[in-house]
Amino acid sequence: MGKDIIIRIGGEGGEGVISAGDMLAQASARAGLEVLTFKTFPAEIKGGYAMYQFRVSAEEILSHGDTFNIVVVFNAEAYEVNKGLLKPGNVLVYDGPDAGIDPKPIEGVVQYAVPMTKISKVDLSSPISKNMVALGAVVQLFSFPMDSLVELVRNKFRKKGEEIVNINLKALEAGAEYVRSNIKKSDRFIVHPTKPEGDAILLSGNEAIGLGALVAGCEFFSCYPITPATEIAIWLAKHLPKTNGIVVQAEDEIASLGHVIGASYAGAKAMTGTSGPGLDLMTELLGFASMAELPLVIADVQRGGPSTGLPTKSEQSDLFLAARGGHGDFPRIVLAAATIEDCFYLTVDAFNLAEKYQMPVIILSDGSLAFRTEKIKRPDLAKLNIMNREVYSGNGEFKRYEITDSGISAVSLPGQPGGQYIATGLEHSETAAPKYSPDYHAMMTEKRFRKIENIEDEYAASEYDGNGDEDIGIISWGLTQCSVREAVKRCREKGLKVSALYPRMVFPVPVKAIRKFASSVKKVLMPEVNYQGQFAELVRAHAGINPIRYDIYGGLPFTPEQIEAKIKEVI
């Protein structure tokens, strides 16, 4: 095979596109290949175009890629959506002949007709197994490991009974058999299992956030369902009780952050997960938590657009809200995940930072990352450092909001005699009594912000990739980093001098790293998936540099190709 293959499956929502794709991805991962998936689906439950794309490679995969090599279309709509993207070297597998898809020959595009509907409906009398017929054909055409697929099908349908397992296996075989007897392979794509399985795990971004929370010691999770964040709750609802933790579905996002605040006051490590509209509702309590100095974590899985916007699409447009949302001046920390590994490790970091600095920490993920699955190295728990808030020792006078050099003051937990205090959102004295004098407000505001004054020295806020003298440097955040990494690699292979800075923490803005980075390059480029160039704006304001912006805002992430083209344009 070439270095890697990108396969896209398109069909109608509810037609099994996603589950067929999931199984292929899983089988590839089991065969030792690297895998990265990318899905989009309609907001509606049934109908509409659903797409599952996955990239397999013997080598490290940096992003979801530019486009596809192979496209499998289940219906005419999926064909219409994708036909314009077909390029020489691509393969089209479609439901046909006689299924309403009538592809015109395209120079250099290999086309295979597999009568998916006919085989499932007429030959097998089981119309719902069309996706399994397609899967069988794809497995046969590109040499995916069939044994692994058979096992996955068994596992998936075991609960539904032997009969259902057999129908699906029969459909899988029928698809494969059709290819063996009727199709002469004329493309170059073959999947070769390479490495042994190794100690890897396969999971989605939302699952990785859930797992990260659990590993970080999360004991309490409360949420209100919202796409694309709900799977965090679904996963934790299943697994958190195993560690004696609690998952609550609240009446709304205000209540869910309220629950989290109460749990945190009581001493628990607590978290909520939401998307933009939910974070909007939480901002008053976010300010309260920061003022009352309570550690907590909010995962904001960004969707596209304002209001209800694009519920199943993704954008990087909640940064202003996460960094700036809320009235009055109050500190908070915002981390941004770019990969599945980030979703896991940054969630652990988020809990640690929340505990250390006693303030809310927001993790920004997004819709693409939420549903993407990726194979990652199994985390080594022994290597993880888990932090806990500084607790009052019980000796001496207890001042909950004591003015200290670090800004951090010890906290007591209910039940601790001598530790009684009122956690409060009113401006207060060191002992938490209401105090509104200008002196106190100034002193306490400074105390609260002092906690994170040196955070850049205490936390690895960004990763630098360069050697200190490049023509162009790229600063990117969140998912965009994936496509930037791939574009940077390609540009360097072509001899361009490009460097990159990958911030993990986007607020407070890692000013020192950004200034240093900016002085090492001739130009700074900042690609973002939002209209306002939100991070560029913060960087401009905080670091005092003036980057070249590249904003896209259609609800889809950048491709490496887009970034590469922009680098070449501005260099």
Partner: protein
């Protein structure tokens, strides 16, 4: 552990003096609360008082227990979080009618139906005190306030009827100056397993010139005179709907009590949540993602 010696009511008072106007009904509630704490040997370390925003919501500062003074309307969910994380704590919410029935009104049905094991004491003065004289959800129809200069067009809500219908398992009403009854009900509520709701009519002499101590005194009737079967919800509801604040009699006392498992008891996965006692097998959970 704390000394179990019984504290006197005044021992529950902090050195922060109340900021309430002279004659405010909330003083009576504070006194009844500390009386109830004393009578029930409440531990100042294991009790948490949570409030939202309003004159009445200042109360936690005046008491020596743990406490939280939070955002307008959000005391109930915050108290819920405390109780779910640490079921051994006594969690009590105090606040106003605006706080709990208006801005926080959306939380009430859920804390009640989930039967979260907390006590909610509403100091109901039928006016917004802290923001100085605006109409409240329990203001009577036609009431003149700063935002309803031509009389309020709204129909008042009936706190007792709501609590009953939402599924609260302990529903009571008291009157601020009836210290003995109020303290007694607070004690019962604290010992009740599940969500306990007490509406304490607590006049605001500064802004509410209608629902005054003098207005109420002759109308108050101990509900026990007409209602002894506290498990009879329909009777309780009928009394709540017919003997309201604008009728000839205003019943005070316990309307309803029911024994229903609390949320904490029903949740799977919670045992005694003592830190570090049981180490979960995280590796086994990570295995879920093994290929």
């Amino acid at each position: 552990m704390e000394v179990t010696q019984q504290l006197k009511p005044k021992d529950y008072r902090s050195d922060i003096p109340p900021v309430w106007c002279a004659g405010c009904g909330d003083y009576g509630v504070l006194a009844s609360l500390t009386t109830a704490f004393s009578a029930n040997h409440a531990s100042t370390a294991n009790t948490v008082l949570v409030s939202g925003i309003g004159c009445s919501s200042r109360l936690p500062y005046f008491v020596t227990t743990f406490g939280m003074h939070t955002c307008h309307g959000r005391a109930v969910p915050i108290a819920t979080g405390i109780k779910l994380a640490r079921p051994e704590l006594k969690v009590i919410v105090v606040g106003g009618d605006g706080d709990n029935f208006s801005i926080g009104g959306g939380h009430l049905p859920h804390v009640a139906r989930k039967n979260i094991d907390i006590t909610l004491i509403v100091m109901d003065n039928s006016i917004y005190g802290l923001t100085k004289n605006q109409v409240s959800p329990t203001s009577r129809a036609g009431m003149v306030t700063s935002t309803t200069p031509y009389g309020s067009p709204d129909v008042p809500l009936n706190p007792i009827a709501y609590a009953l219908v939402y599924g609260a398992t302990f529903v009571a009403q008291s009157f601020s100056s009836n210290a003995r009854l109020t303290a007694d009900l607070i004690g019962q509520a604290m010992n009740h397993k599940g969500f306990a709701f007490i509406n304490v009519i607590s006049p605001c002499p500064t802004f509410n010139k209608v629902d005054t101590f003098e207005y109420y005194k002759p109308l108050l009737r101990n509900i026990d005179e007409v209602h002894t079967d506290k498990g009879d919800k329909i009777k309780a509801l009928s009394l709540a709907m017919t003997m309201g604040r604008e009728s000839a009699t205003v019943p005070i006392g316990l309307f309803y009590q029911e024994n229903r498992p609390s949320y904490v008891e029903l949740l799977s996965g919670i045992k005694t949540r003592n830190k570090g006692t049981n180490k979960p097998d995280l590796e086994k959970i990570i295995d879920v993602f093994k290929l």
